[in-house]
Symmetry: D2
Subunit: 373 residues, 4 copies
């Protein structure tokens, strides 16, 4: 066992290093980001807490919940005991205007009511709900069944899929964090559409989600006794993520796309598995195409040819794993794309966006190894 150095400058450096490891936050010379979370009692809220609590440059300023104001967050989520020592506060008392950034982990329709005020106070925003995901406000209002409270802000909002929009995210004041299905589906189709090797008129996305994707709401159809040992499709006539995905795919393809999107509920807690189908109209080395496109992406992992990704391999991690197949060398390409819906599909991607916005290494606080088994 080595001894610590004993003399002068080296001695100083050594103890500085020691001290620093014990005090990873607020490191001298490092920026501290003051963070607020609005609506922290859902699954994306606790997931944000889990990730941000271990972020070396984040100071958690406030987390709001009208219903549970005053309750320590670790009482609602005892997994945080000893690691997160903050209580829920009332929104009106949280002084969110003092934050550097505010995450909205709220139902749809909340962020749009507060965005203007916060932006005017110099606070940057990441909305994990859908308020700013759709650029066409008429489309948004039709699918979400409400009037938009601040349509003028929509053009400014940046769609927070770093693999598509990294440069825009860097400067953004207002980031619309993608939905969980849209993240898995768009990352899966991206190389094919950018390269123009498939027929865009009849894409199919058959997606399966764990039950946490439905949120932490008291509803009968997501009770254990209803959802366990059971499998079902839902929203086949039309799911709210359809226009979001279509908008993203069209942007990649630089043309309109035809998409059939069928989501399913599968009896697991976390995870999305998107199985994507398209017709190839131009011969190409699909494996090489994917590997090249994602070579520099920290959070997209292209598996070796012939692989079948399992959702548990990203459980708790921010990675999207992708395999691309061309069964029997036919003209149909099958892409398998998996994420953890609460991490890369929500809170993790939000932290990734925050890292980009504040000039930090993109992986900060996102390198935890997935929990398997």
């Amino acid at each position: 066992m080595e001894k610590p150095p004993t003399g002068g400058f080296l001695f100083l450096l050594y103890y500085f290093a020691e001290w620093q490891q014990e005090n990873l936050k607020n490191v001298w010379g490092k920026e501290v980001i003051k963070v607020g979370i609005v609506g922290g009692t859902g699954y994306t809220g606790i997931e944000l807490l889990r990730l941000l609590a271990q972020h070396p440059q984040v100071e958690l300023h406030a987390i709001t919940s009208r219903a549970d104001a005053g309750m320590p967050v670790s009482q609602m989520f005892p997994s945080l005991r000893g690691q997160v020592n903050i209580a829920f506060s009332l929104p009106e008392e949280a002084r969110l205007d003092q934050c550097d950034i505010v995450f909205f982990a709220t139902p749809n329709g909340i962020a749009m009511q507060h965005a203007r005020g916060l932006l005017d106070a110099g606070v940057r925003i990441i909305d994990l709900a859908a308020d700013f995901r759709i650029q066409n406000v008429q489309v948004w209002e039709k699918w979400y069944g409400m009037s938009h409270a601040c349509p003028d802000l929509i053009p400014e909002a940046v769609y927070g899929l770093p693999e598509m929009n990294r440069e825009n995210i860097r400067q953004a004041r207002l980031v619309a964090n993608p939905g969980c299905y849209p993240t898995a589906v768009q990352l899966g189709f991206l190389p094919l559409l950018e390269e123009g090797v498939i027929d865009c008129s009849s894409l199919i996305a058959d997606a399966k989600s764990g039950v946490s994707g439905a949120g932490r709401k008291a509803e009968v159809n997501i009770l254990f006794s209803e959802a366990a040992d059971n499998f079902r499709a839902y929203g086949v006539p039309g799911h709210r993520h359809l226009p979001e995905i279509r908008q993203g795919l069209a942007s990649m393809a630089r043309q309109e796309v035809g998409l059939t999107f069928v989501p399913h509920l599968t009896p697991m807690i976390r995870g999305i598995h998107a199985t994507l189908y398209a017709r190839i109209h131009q011969d190409t080395d699909l494996q090489a195409l994917y590997e090249k496109r994602y070579a520099n992406e920290a959070f997209v992992d292209v598996l070796p040819a012939g692989s079948h990704p399992e959702t548990r391999t990203v459980r708790g991690g921010n990675c999207c794993r992708i395999a691309v197949h061309r069964p029997q060398q036919g003209n149909t390409v099958v892409v398998l794309s998996i994420i953890d819906n609460l991490v890369k599909g929500a809170a993790g991607q939000a932290v990734q966006n925050m890292n980009i916005m504040f000039g930090l290494p993109e992986s900060t606080a996102l390198t935890g190894i997935p929990l398997l088994p």
Copy 2:
């Protein structure tokens, strides 16, 4: 409370009815079917036992297992205690030649070794494995990786999908019971292909199965700790059910079909959910088409328009429930087709076939209500 009748003939009839209810089997005047099961220690084996034990005209003659000969079946499967009082016997001591019918609930490649002998002894056969499912023996040998032991019997074998082949099944000596995925997929596509309203060149079947579909084998990848809280595709480059499904669909369409088939493993015990995609090239009332086609089928239930069938609604039952969608009135039809893989996908369909072969009401012993929740 009514009193029983007291006089003469009515009295006699009354007590006959009483007695009969206590002695449902071997009813005077009813045929008794002597049944043998080869390979009864897997999930299709126990499921056959569960169904046949409550069949009023079946006498269970023998159930074989080389490894467990001598053990009462209710010791291996205590759910049968008090209801099934037979022990596993060695195949060579089971006198299967004395049966009226023998079910093979064995791995692939076993039934073909015994079929000739049993048929010659006048025993009818239902093979729940794949030995006689593919008419083209070269195709079979390629996908199953072995030589066929009795290719001469293949032409005689009847593919046991009653909704397609009821009349042939009636007379068959040798029935190839369909695979689980093929049952769900074929029943889902059947009306579309018979009616010729879709483009047959690029059908897609995205199927999800509970883990019992992988059988009761000591394998790491289907351990609880591997398969729970996890979702994955498998066999994307090519699954053995592909040629079986393609053969069936081609027969319905009276032309070759192009099919992409992607099976997935979902963390539930029983159930298959097949999500089917095709392009419509002829406008038609899809709901009416399905309802009409299956109006007289006891075990295919077409759900009302807009429905999403749940696999648990057929848990333990022999029903296939189907919903047909045309999202956003586009040109893609989406069919949702569910079965219990161990019942309509295996043992239940085998009993249905037996009922047809022996002229019994097709639903005999198959009317149990699915277990929900």
Copy 3:
């Protein structure tokens, strides 16, 4: 295949038998029991439907639900499609007074409001909730937090545990169907207490229940994402089933008993596993004791010495399976007692009680084989 007989009387009998099989209900000479169910939208409600729909002498007169009146029950529970063709009706329009028997599958506190009226109309009652389980009304009011609406009826109520009270049930107008935990715990302790071989002062019942035991209520803590892959105790300071169990055990022991009862929630849909501990103060052959006590009970199955019952072996069945152990031949007896909480722990036991009340064979409609796997 045998031919049917062709002459005279035999011919007649044969076709009568044929006809009878097709018309199992309303058999001439058989009593038909008109049944009403109050509160049919929970899990005990649908389980009653599942069992009663296959009962040869039951006519389902009405099933009520204020919230869902008018909806076919098979729309809420599609597993019943094609087998149960009745709709929910408003309680006030259901004419329950015309029934022979009414089951209350309601929350606590409902049956007691309607019992007097129905009894006066000559209707017999089985309450699956707790209103009439506790003979001491003060104890009941303390644990259930409400005033009892008809304390005068309590003395008449018969506690519906057939293995204890069969003779009283036969004549009862009002049966209090036992709770799920109390059924498993009482049947497990019964032989020991009747025989007086254990110290009654410090019994321990460590019980584990599937989530369906918590009912079909929109509550966050029984969501799939909360209850899956998780295990927890609850109600350790005091659970409502404690006084019910204590009353039953005291009755068996003919003295007060000291009981520690700890219920747990386990991530499965159905099933209760009670692990019971007591100190033996009199040497005896425990295995023989249990086998003898339950020799004539159709729904209690004493497993061979050394067994460990699995809850899945009673999934969907009315059986209670019990194993008794004396580890290392010490002075502690360990009893393992399992039931399906929705069947022997609720709806199945209620049907068993009805069969007893109406003089039918006790197993009628209760012989379905459990679903394994």
Copy 4:
């Protein structure tokens, strides 16, 4: 955003801090621990990898597997892709004698064959199996059914429960890492036994484990379709963890203890919930007793009075959470003690022991927040 300092020494310190964050391992002045893992293909093996890969002072020297030598560990466990870049090696080629410490994540009976050689080479050992857990070699040989290969080493072995043996662990060459059940049960009983407030003659430990506790072995009884939606006890006549727990409890109580231990399998992947029962014979403030005893323990969390810990709150974390109850103020104490069987019950505790052995902060690499939901 703050600018980095620009002048002289501060500048140097700043960039040193920067550089250090990018190079957390092999920090100048920090000891690097060379680690070997024997038998890395099971669940404790991958869990060790997950934890050690993020340990700032560990260098993973080798991980052995005879069957899978040559395969990258991230191929078997894709959750490690991009984070662990080592392949399995043959034991005889792994040069384990060059390690500072070797973990045995092997079946029982392996570590004892290699311990002498490694110790002689100056390598310290942590055995996650049972070879060195029992001080009485006759007892060990009886329960484990084999002869011990190096009984002379047993006296030297330190039982690796830090909350009991921290000082001995510090100096130990050979640590016997506790079993999963023994960890949960011993930490639950510890304050009561040390303080002498309970009757030691009839302790009861009713323990429930997730299926990963049974290991990653190809066995039918832990298949998904066998273990899901099912609950059962096992090993009631006698489980190997019984003598280990009894030895530990006796050491705490400084007298022999009587213990009934009943383990159960519950359908979840990770987690142990031990429900402990004892008779109080001395009145005391139980809550204060527990809080005081564990006040300085980083990995034992005493919950507020009245709590019911949930296993998911420690999923992936090294914490043991405990609640203590005295139902109805009777004389029975009920302790609820939960751990993640793969972390505090195996790999996490092993890393904790390693940290102690090498003088590191005990929590190093063990502060990850549990994954909830």
